[in-house]
């Protein structure tokens, strides 16, 4: 069984590369029983969206199309 610390590590990693199916299942099982880590996952998604929308970010809001 993964700890919250392990889960946070794998969740971070999943933002950079695909996890193995074993890892995915382990994370999913942990998330079923852990609200704190579910919030963590949602917040990681949010941080990514924020970074992409940050002026000049990769998915940047296009400020120069006038």
């Amino acid at each position: 069984m993964l700890s919250c610390k392990d889960t946070s590590e794998l969740v971070s990693r999943s933002l950079d590369e695909e996890l193995s199916w074993r890892q995915r299942i382990a994370v999913r099982l942990h998330l079923l029983i852990c609200g704190a880590c579910r919030r963590f996952v949602a917040q990681m998604g949010f941080i990514r969206r924020a970074a992409r929308r940050y002026p000049g970010g990769a998915g940047g809001r296009d400020q120069g199309s006038r």
Binding site: C4, R53, Y54
Partner: protein, 193 residues
């Protein structure tokens, strides 16, 4: 005549955005200015190769990114001995992670719920807080995070640029995300939810 010609003024308009971007990468304000200047000059010289398909800012950022990488590389060479110092700083970092979790791996303070976080994405003040939080990261951690999440580079490219192993990379990114989460919680969500 599909190509529209780029004018210097049009390019210069993006200077402030480029500077903010550069400042996230380089702590040294003068070096950031230099990199932006070099990028603007390079953009003007290469104006013909701008095909108008990508947004101008995206194109400028891609030029700036190369200049920033050059600067970071130069900076590292000049401070070859500083790597020892970095190691200590990053070593203290693992202390930070350990404080976030109990010895059994449970959250010491479980992440609190953020209500309607996406509303923050529409607010300029939020990005100021976000910027401060990114600047508060230890240097290497910030570099990796910015290249990945703001610059949009792939993990493999970043390992090459920063000359770090894949496992170093995972550790840096894990720390960056945990730290940013905590910082945003304090600086923004504690008072906005």
């Amino acid at each position: 005549m599909q190509k529209r010609s780029l004018e210097a003024g049009e390019i210069a308009e993006h200077r402030p955005a480029l500077l903010r971007y550069a400042r996230l990468h380089l702590r040294d304000a003068a070096a950031a200015e230099d990199a932006v200047q070099e990028a603007l000059v390079a953009a003007l010289q290469a104006a013909d190769s701008f095909n108008g398909e990508s947004a101008l800012q995206t194109w400028l950022i891609s030029i700036l990114r190369r200049k920033l990488v050059d600067h970071m590389r130069r900076g590292r060479r000049e401070m070859a001995a500083a790597d020892a110092g970095l190691d200590t700083a990053e070593g203290e970092e693992s202390g930070f992670i350990n404080r976030l979790f109990e010895s059994n791996g449970h959250w010491a303070t479980p992440p609190a719920a953020w209500t309607n976080p996406d509303a923050a994405l529409e607010q300029a003040e939020f990005y100021a807080a976000f910027e401060e939080c990114v600047r508060g990261l230890p240097e290497r951690t910030a570099e990796a995070f910015v290249l990945r999440e703001i610059g949009g580079l792939e993990a493999g490219e970043i390992c090459k640029e920063l000359a770090i192993s894949a496992s170093n990379y995972w550790v840096l990114m894990h720390r960056a995300r945990l730290r940013l989460r905590e910082c945003l919680q304090k600086r923004w969500f504690a008072s906005h939810t």
